[in-house]
Each structure stands twice: as structure tokens, then as C-alpha cells.
């Protein structure tokens, strides 16, 4: 039973797992998971009984966090795209090099 559940956790990472990733491995999906987890925490705070200004300030903070995560999402997407582009470029260059090698060095023909 214990083993079974353990295995499941490994196969089925919850949204919290996004926090454990390396920033450079992050995907937009991870950013959405982070949003959900942070959102849930904020909801917990704002549904506690409060006095005075606290709810307004929590809400202000909440929308600043939305903005930060929007930025993170954009950065993650952008960097993934850049990596993708660089990889394609590299592969193209490799192919070119191989092609040229097959033709043999100039003058040897």
C-alpha cells in the first residue's frame, strides 16, 4: 500500500512540484501550477476573519503577484523559444559541416 502510493506520487507530481524545479527547466505549465498554489494560499489568508485594511492590502499584493507571474510566464516562454531556435540553428550548422566534409576538402578532388 505504502509502496503503491509512493510510486503514484512519483508518477503524478502535484502542482507543488513546480517549486522544486530548476528555474532553467521551468515551463509555462509550471508557472500556472505555481499560480494555482500561490492563489490558494492567498485565498486562505483572505477568507480568515479580518479587521480594517488587511483584505484590501492582501488583494493589492495578489494582483502584484499576478503581474510578477505574468512576467515569469513571458520570460519562460521567451527563453524556451530562444533555446529552441538556437538548437535548430546548431543542427542546421552541423548538417552543413557534415555535408561539406563529405564533399571533401577543396583541392583534394
Amino acid at each position: 500500500m505504502q509502496a503503491h502510493q509512493h510510486r503514484e506520487e512519483e508518477e503524478e507530481p502535484g502542482p507543488e512540484n513546480a517549486f522544486e524545479k530548476s528555474p532553467f527547466q521551468l515551463t509555462a505549465e509550471d508557472v500556472y501550477d505555481i499560480s494555482y498554489v500561490v492563489g490558494r494560499e492567498i485565498l486562505k489568508i483572505s477568507s480568515e476573519p479580518h479587521q480594517g485594511e488587511a483584505p484590501t492590502r492582501v488583494a493589492q499584493l495578489q494582483f502584484k503577484i499576478v503581474r510578477i507571474l505574468e512576467m515569469l510566464e513571458a520570460l519562460v516562454n521567451e527563453s524556451n523559444l530562444t533555446v529552441e531556435e538556437l538548437k535548430m540553428e546548431r543542427d542546421n550548422l552541423k548538417k552543413e559541416v557534415e555535408g561539406l566534409r563529405k564533399e571533401g576538402p577543396p583541392g583534394n578532388a
Binding site: 502542482p15 508557472v31 500556472y32 488583494a59 495578489q62 499576478v66
Partner: protein, 392 residues
């Protein structure tokens, strides 16, 4: 550069120009992704934004604008679900948001019955000019329709997993090592790769559940979805049991009980034991017990009759008829034993039904679920592309 300005006191309304209504519907409904930073951080955000737009139109006493917005909203949701209606995530998203919109229209209707949990500030936000009770009815009908669509999508995903995962795949080793003689082995070891197991089903349930939670779906509604899911699983499994000879053996009974206990464990894990989901498995549980109990003496017959109160006589008799002894220590069920059972159950007024209706959908309800969210604190995240509407 945005020069930060002292926050002014907002009233929790949103204003847009009438000409921008199509753009509003397009960005907030038609093109909105069910997964994104803003909607994940604030579940139900599209519904709150729509309601705040309704509030401003109500404040302007502009009945034409209110009517137009509500009609476009409803049509927009229908359009999305027509286009992406086979996508569980999309359907779950719009079921959650349609319900939230409906809850907002109630919470801020100004009707006392819906104001009990409101803060004084929330009470100030009630609609003042229009009674939208008729639109609430339309939205509630729409929510029912979306719910049925959700069940259909979920069923289509689950259907191919059930027989394989609940009946064919063997999770307990050694029990069914002895195959009933003369029966062909359905699950060959080669087919094992790529076939569904109980784990596949549990994983699918986890996915469904986590998507609905992320959409902020009402807990009461999640319970109903889970109950419906368990019903489908139980009904499809039982129907196959009643149709296949190779499924009626002592070891299959063992297998089914183990699988059911795993499903129960899942419910306990997710705190859904009071959802009524477990109860929908009762006919299957009893059929599995029937496969395991002794089937010889009069006392055995009596025990079966009092145990199987969730199975029809037709189903009990069918299982007994199909029952196939697993080894030489067991015997076939005798014809006289089946007769005894039939005699005992003669006075029971039950339906002649053999197969369960696996397409049956329990009627859904949407209990009022007010929110503590303060409308005046809501801002419009940039990623929604709604810069043309302004806070009031």
C-alpha cells in the same frame, strides 16, 4: 512609464463602451485559455469580471446594455463549448465560471435570502435597478447543459479504461494463477503492455479532480461529478461481469473487491467519502461478494438473498449461472441451488432488469455558494487583454 498613483476608492464595477462588447466577449470568453497565470491565481476571475460589467450597466440604468451583455455572455459560452466541447479542461472551466457567475447574480441580487453571508461592503454592491431572476434561470439551465457535457466527456475518456483496469488486468498475483479450464486467456502477457490498469483509472481520476480544483469548482459540484464517475465505473464493470463467462470466478471476485477498495481509498484520500460515490459501487461490490461466498446449502442461499439487496433477481441468477469454478476444490452452482434462490426472491418486487443503464446521469444541483471575495479589490490582469475596460 506608469507613474504609481494613490489607489482611489473603487466601487467594484467595470465600464466599457458598448462598441467594445464583442471585443470583451472575444477576449474574456471565446479566446480565453482555461489555464493561465491570472485564472489560476484567481479561480472564477472571468465570472467576477463579467459580473462587475453587469453592475456598471445596472448602475447606468441601461437595460439595453445589460440585456445585450448577458445575451452575448451566454452565447459566447455556448460557442466555446460547441467548438471545444470534447476538451475536459475547457468544459470544466466554463462549468465553474458559469456557476460562479450565477452565484454572483444571486449574492448581489439584493434578495435577502442570498445576503446572509455578505459583508456590509458586499451588500453595498447589490444591483439596484434590474431584477435578473429570469436570466439566472437561463444560466442555471446552461449550467445543467454544461454539466451533462462534462459527464459525457469524462465518460468517453474513462470508458476504454474500465473493463481492462477493473476486470481484465490482474493486480493480485497468485490468486488467479489457476485458469478456469477451457477458457481462453484474455489478457495475454503481450497485450499487457499498453493496456489500461487500475492505476490508469486512478491516475485519470486524479487528473479530473485536480483540474476541477484548479478551476475553483464548487466542492458540492465536484462531489456530484465524482459520484457520477464512480457510477459509470461501477455500471460498466458490472455489465461486463454479467455478459462474460470468464469474469465470473472466485478470483475475479477477489480482484474486484481489491480494486474497489483502492477506489475507496482514493475517495478517503480526497476527502470525498460523503459524496455518495462509494454507494454507487454497491451493486458491483455485492456481485463480487456473490462470486466469493459458498453456494451450496440452504443457509448459503439465505445469506445470498439477504446480502444482495442492491442486485436484481435477474442479476443474481445470471452471476450464479455464469459462475465458473476456479479449481477442483470448488463446484459448479447446481441448478437446484439456483431454483432455491429464485423461490426465495419470488416475493421481492424488483425490476426484471439485467444490465445497468451506464448512460444514466444523476440530476445535478447547484447549491448557492457565496464568495468572500471583495469586488472593489479586483484588478484586471494585463494578460487578459482587457485594457479597454476601466475600473469604476
Amino acid at each position: 512609464v506608469n507613474i504609481p498613483r494613490k489607489e482611489k476608492d473603487f466601487q467594484g464595477m467595470l465600464e466599457y463602451k458598448k462598441d467594445d462588447e464583442p471585443k470583451l466577449v472575444k477576449n474574456l470568453i471565446l479566446d480565453l485559455k482555461p489555464r493561465g497565470v491570472a485564472v489560476n491565481l484567481i479561480p472564477g476571475l472571468p465570472a467576477y469580471i463579467l459580473f462587475m460589467c453587469v453592475r456598471h450597466a445596472d448602475y447606468l440604468n441601461d437595460d439595453q446594455k445589460v440585456r445585450s451583455l448577458l445575451t452575448s455572455t451566454i452565447n459566447g459560452i455556448k460557442k466555446v463549448l460547441k467548438k471545444r466541447g470534447d476538451d475536459f479542461e475547457m468544459v470544466s472551466f466554463w462549468l465553474s465560471n458559469t456557476c460562479r457567475f450565477l452565484h454572483c447574480l444571486k449574492q448581489y441580487s439584493g434578495e435577502e435570502g442570498f445576503m446572509k453571508h455578505n459583508t456590509p461592503r458586499q451588500n453595498d454592491h447589490c444591483l439596484t435597478n434590474f431584477d435578473l431572476a429570469e436570466y439566472r434561470q437561463v444560466l442555471s439551465d446552461l449550467a445543467i447543459q454544461i454539466y451533462q457535457q462534462l459527464v459525457r466527456v469524462l465518460e468517453n475518456i474513462l470508458q476504454p479504461m474500465i473493463v481492462s483496469g477493473m476486470l481484465e488486468h490482474e493486480t493480485i498475483q497468485g490468486v488467479s494463477g489457476v485458469k478456469p479450464p477451457g477458457l481462453r486467456k484474455r489478457t495475454s502477457s503481450i497485450a499487457d503492455e499498453g493496456t489500461y490498469t487500475l492505476d490508469s483509472i486512478i491516475r485519470q481520476l486524479n487528473t479530473f479532480h485536480s483540474v476541477m480544483c484548479q478551476h475553483g469548482m464548487d466542492p458540492e459540484l465536484i462531489k456530484q461529478v465524482v459520484k457520477q464517475t464512480f457510477y459509470i465505473t461501477g455500471a460498466v464493470t458490472l455489465n461486463n461481469l454479467l455478459l462474460r463467462k470468464d469474469m465470473c470466478s472466485w478470483s475475479k471476485g477477489m480482484q474486484i473487491r481489491y480494486n474497489v477498495s483502492q477506489l475507496e481509498e482514493w475517495l478517503r484520500d480526497k476527502n470525498l467519502m460523503n459524496s455518495g460515490a462509494k454507494e454507487t459501487l454497491e451493486p458491483l461490490i455485492q456481485a463480487a461478494q456473490l462470486l466469493q461466498v459458498k453456494k451450496k446449502t440452504d443457509e448459503d442461499a439465505e445469506a445470498i438473498c439477504s446480502m444482495c439487496n442492491a442486485l436484481t433477481t435477474a442479476q443474481i441468477v445470471k452471476v450464479l449461472n455464469l459462475y465458473t469454478p476456479v479449481n477442483e476444490f470448488e463446484e459448479r452452482v447446481s441448478i437446484s441451488f439456483i431454483r432455491t434462490i429464485q423461490m426465495r426472491l419470488r416475493d421481492r418486487k424488483d425490476s426484471p432488469q439485467l444490465l445497468m443503464d451506464a448512460k444514466h446521469i444523476f440530476p445535478v444541483t447547484f447549491p448557492f455558494n457565496p464568495s468572500s471575495l471583495a469586488l472593489e479589490t479586483i484588478q484586471i490582469p494585463a494578460s487578459l487583454g482587457l485594457a479597454f475596460i476601466s475600473r469604476v
